[in-house]
């Protein structure tokens, strides 16, 4: 790399960039007048709502728009190119020149790690391809170099990975491979488009750490695209805020995040759940959203009545058989839930947290009877469910309702939302006439803050947040006593997420609902829950009141989870230790059962698993 010290001119200088799609009158301008400078060895974060044009801007820099049917309608992108030996306007380059820049001087990590790698080629060949192209390396040299970079992103067993195919890797590993691939030609600019959105907090922390580390080593300039303010605050030197294809605000990270000027930036920051912001309080608290319908004070913080639980779970165990071998015998089992026990009381929110794959959904599904347990007991208002005959058991599906993670996926795209909403009530005979149904639908819609006349619309005519409300409305249709919300807000934009969380809390206050709130987002948990249960490898390793768990985490895993959450504290780089390796899996050979943990009380209502060693 020939970095001729910090020259005065910025490395990349974007001026008034506009991008349109389509032509003629129907042309859509998706990027409108974006300008920024990217200096050597600096990180520019582009933040903004979904669809504001962040990804398109980066594709424009790489000259890839035309493959999507887009066009640069105006502006220039000046870039100091070494391969071409001059300062060029990226928009004016021939395809051939562009190819020399792409991947070589400007590299990009795309938004979705799961689909960015070609499934039919090995990691080694996909990385080697770039090296051979831009650096003219021989096969074996390219392989050597690829391995070095895989080591650099701290992938274990890099040598073996070279011959692996993408599907054999977890999401986190794939994202690290992508980073290695983008960096292997030591580009001058690395564009990272939401590199961690799809990932778990702990893996996210790991990846952010790697990017920062490598940037420091290679003195690369980074354009970091994200909508997560916490992440931005950890990563960026400068920030550009976009909304609806236009730049809203730009400046140094401290300045923008601490003293936002534009109302949109302020709104965005308000919605960010900040971990630790609830320290000292015992009750859940609504998000403070400017201009929302109800004031936080309307939700009285009622103490939970702990005399009679709604739901009691005792030693619930769920395992999945993995078959293999010639006779397809069960060779392994996934111990998704091992002897899980907890209670939920009326009007209480129990948050079930843990890493991906720790068994949270399995517990939720078992309670909803979507999954059969291996053993264990479950009581609703004292009634033992599993001992009932199958038909009688189903009736209890009215008592509990499940809100699925993907609001779009869980609404039938071919039914009007009205039909979808009323279906559970119809099944359980809660409404009998058309008129009654209509009223009920209207009632439900209003309850979740949607206009009653939207009943005739189809799911695709709603926004993500609205759809999530619809799912909640449907769950309310049978007047359940318990709602299981499985990652019900993870897919949402921060501002929408805040609205939905508020809605849930408000409903709880009004109707005394209980929630089992499944998530891995600790910041949201802090807001919403009364109590928290932490799952690790199918077992509950820590359970206690929210305050106990957050303010006095005992189990190392809980600590790790908490420390992984990015903190919105501009300018301050996190000091958490880098995490290594992959999460251990719950899959075990038959006969090799995990040792059950024993929970030990730390204080009143706060239990922690005893350390094995």
């Amino acid at each position: 790399m020939t970095d001729t010290t910090a020259s005065k001119t910025p490395l990349l200088c974007v001026r008034d960039l506009s991008v349109t799609f389509g032509d003629g009158p129907s042309a859509a301008r998706v990027v409108d007048g974006v300008s920024f400078d990217l200096a050597h060895n600096r990180t520019l974060a582009i933040v903004g709502e979904s669809g504001s044009g962040k990804s398109i801007t980066s594709l424009a820099i790489l000259g890839l728009l035309k493959h999507l049917g887009g066009r640069i309608a105006g502006g220039e992108m000046l870039f100091q190119s070494d391969v071409l030996g001059r300062r060029v306007n990226l928009d004016q380059l021939t395809e051939n020149e562009l190819r020399q820049v792409r991947g070589n001087e400007i590299a990009m990590i795309f938004q979705e790690p799961m689909t960015s790698l070609n499934p039919v080629y090995t990691i080694g060949s996909q990385m080697g391809e770039t090296l051979a192209l831009h650096q003219g390396l021989s096969r074996s040299n390219a392989r050597q170099k690829a391995q070095e970079f895989l080591d650099l992103v701290r992938l274990p067993n890099a040598k073996r990975l070279l011959d692996s195919y993408p599907h054999q890797l977890s999401g986190g590993m794939r994202q690290r491979v992508m980073i290695a691939m983008a960096l292997c030609c030591q580009p001058k600019i690395l564009i990272a488009d939401e590199p961690t959105t799809a990932l778990d907090v702990t893996i996210q922390a790991q990846i952010l750490h790697i990017i920062r580390d490598l940037q420091a080593k290679m003195r690369t300039s980074v354009i970091f695209i994200s909508h997560d303010m916490g992440v931005v605050s950890e990563m960026a030197d400068d920030v550009l805020v976009m909304k609806a294809s236009k730049p809203i605000e730009a400046g140094g990270v401290k300045e923008v995040l601490s003293h936002p000027k534009a109302p949109y930036t302020q709104e965005l920051l308000a919605a960010v759940p900040r971990i630790g912001s609830m320290t000292g309080t015992t009750m859940p608290k609504l998000f403070d959203i400017p201009g929302q319908e109800f004031a936080p004070e309307t939700v009285p913080a009622k103490p939970v009545d702990r005399s009679k639980p709604v739901l009691e779970i005792e030693d619930l165990t769920v395992r999945f058989d993995i078959r293999g071998g010639l006779l397809s015998r069960v060779t392994h089992r996934v111990h998704a839930a091992e002897k899980v026990s907890f209670n939920i009381y009326p009007g209480e929110t129990l948050a079930l947290v843990g890493e991906s794959g720790s068994g949270k959904s399995t517990v939720g599904k078992t309670i909803q009877q979507l999954q059969d347990p291996v053993s264990g007991a479950m009581r609703f208002h004292g009634q033992d469910i599993f001992s009932l005959p199958a038909d009688d058991r189903k009736a209890f599906r009215k008592q509990t309702q499940y809100v699925f993670q993907d609001p779009y996926g869980s609404l039938n795209p071919r039914k009007t939302v009205g039909d979808s909403l009323i279906e559970p009530a119809l099944v359980h005979g809660l409404v009998t006439s058309k008129a009654e149904a209509k009223d009920k639908i209207a009632d439900l819609l209003v309850k979740v803050g949607l206009p009653a006349d939207h009943a005739g619309r189809y799911p695709h005519q709603f926004s993500g947040g609205q759809r999530q409300r619809l799912c909640i409305a449907r769950a309310l249709a049978c007047d359940p006593s318990l709602i299981i919300a499985d990652e019900a807000v993870s897919a949402l934009d921060v501002s929408v997420q805040a609205q939905v969380v508020n809605l849930l809390m408000q409903l709880q206050a009004e109707q005394g609902l209980s929630y089992l709130f499944i998530t891995h987002d600790m910041a949201v948990v802090e807001r919403i829950s009364h109590r928290v249960a932490v799952m690790y490898l199918g077992q509950i390793v820590e359970i206690g009141s929210r305050q106990q768990v957050f303010e006095n985490p005992q189990h190392p895993y809980t600590k790790r989870l908490l420390s992984a959450v990015p903190v919105l504290n501009p300018g301050v780089r996190p000091t958490r230790p880098p995490l290594e390796g992959e999460i251990p899996s719950g899959m075990r050979a038959v006969g090799n059962e995990p040792a059950p943990v024993t929970l030990k009380a730390v204080s009143d209502g706060h239990f922690v698993a005893e350390q094995a060693s």
């Binding site: 999507l68 887009g70 993907d406 869980s410 039938n412 099944v427 799912c471």
Partner: protein
């Protein structure tokens, strides 16, 4: 293949530019199919003679020479146009009935097999394998040797050997739909199975089903003509496109029009149906609906 592997931006773009061709397909497909269907439906009114009036004096008249026989006549002096219009009845009946029969049978079985798995499911899959290994034409020839020729038998035969395709397709959709969250949601609030199958799964499996249906209607029209060509179809007095082709081939050098026009009729019909099917495919694409 699944939605997940697609780049959302790109598919958005495809939607955005969903070309004018879609419209062309629709217009051309609908026009062709409608015109042909109308002709066939009103064949009795248009050509009351049924196209079977023999007139040996006018045999083998060339096309485009007279208003009386605009497309010429066959060796028995019968009007080609009238016969084509009447012959369409057989073709369309076979095409539609066989496809409808197999789609209903196949869908019900496919839904059941996919939803409940079990014995029926393995049976359907094995049956599909066997059926795949037997070329339909040979099967048809053998069976017709047993039961004798006839349009009704051809239709039944087509149903018997094609329902599996639908069953397989539906089963496949069901297997993936079963895991979709909205179905899981329906299970979670206790909807009975049959309701889940018919009100949640079936409507969402319709897309590919309809495409297969239009394809099969088209294909079965071709198959019928092949079978009639082999002498296994309708009786000689009933005009049918396949029959006309088969009768005309010996005259191919003297009177090309006997073969060429029914061939074109088949082509246009099949083309119309295929165009419609193509259009439907785009239309039923869930991505294009989210617009």
């Amino acid at each position: 293949m699944t939605e997940a592997t697609q780049n959302p931006t790109a598919s958005r773009f495809q939607r955005f530019r969903k070309s004018r061709f879609a419209k062309f397909e629709f217009v051309a497909g609908v026009t062709l199919t409608c015109v042909l269907t109308l002709l066939v439906v009103f064949s009795g009114v248009l050509f009351p003679g049924g196209g079977s009036e023999v007139n040996l004096l006018a045999r083998l008249s060339e096309p485009f020479q007279s208003w009386e026989n605009p497309l010429g006549t066959d060796p028995l002096g019968r009007d080609i146009l009238a016969r084509i219009v009447h012959g369409g009845r057989i073709s369309l009946t076979v095409g539609l009935l066989s496809a409808l029969g197999s789609v209903v049978l196949g869908t019900v079985i496919g839904l059941y097999a996919g939803y409940y798995r079990g014995i029926l499911d393995s049976f359907v899959m094995r049956f599909a394998d066997v059926q795949l290994a037997l070329p339909f034409i040979l099967l048809a020839i053998t069976v017709i040797a047993i039961v004798g020729p006839g349009i009704d038998r051809i239709i039944i035969l087509m149903i018997v050997s094609q329902w599996v395709q639908y069953a397989r397709l539906v089963r496949g959709s069901v297997l993936s739909l079963r895991e979709r969250e909205f179905v899981q949601a329906a299970v979670s609030y206790g909807l009975p199975n049959w309701k889940i199958i018919f009100s949640h799964i079936l409507p969402n499996a319709m897309g590919p089903l309809i495409i297969l249906l239009t394809l099969n209607v088209a294909n079965n029209i071709l198959l019928e003509s092949s079978l009639t060509f082999l002498g296994l179809g309708a009786d000689p007095q009933t005009p049918s496109w396949g029959g006309m082709l088969s009768e005309g081939r010996s005259y191919i050098q003297t009177a090309w029009w006997i073969t060429v026009f029914p061939g074109i009729a088949i082509m246009l019909t099949v083309l119309g149906l295929n165009l419609l099917g193509d259009w439907l495919r785009d239309e039923l694409d869930p991505l294009s609906k989210t617009r």
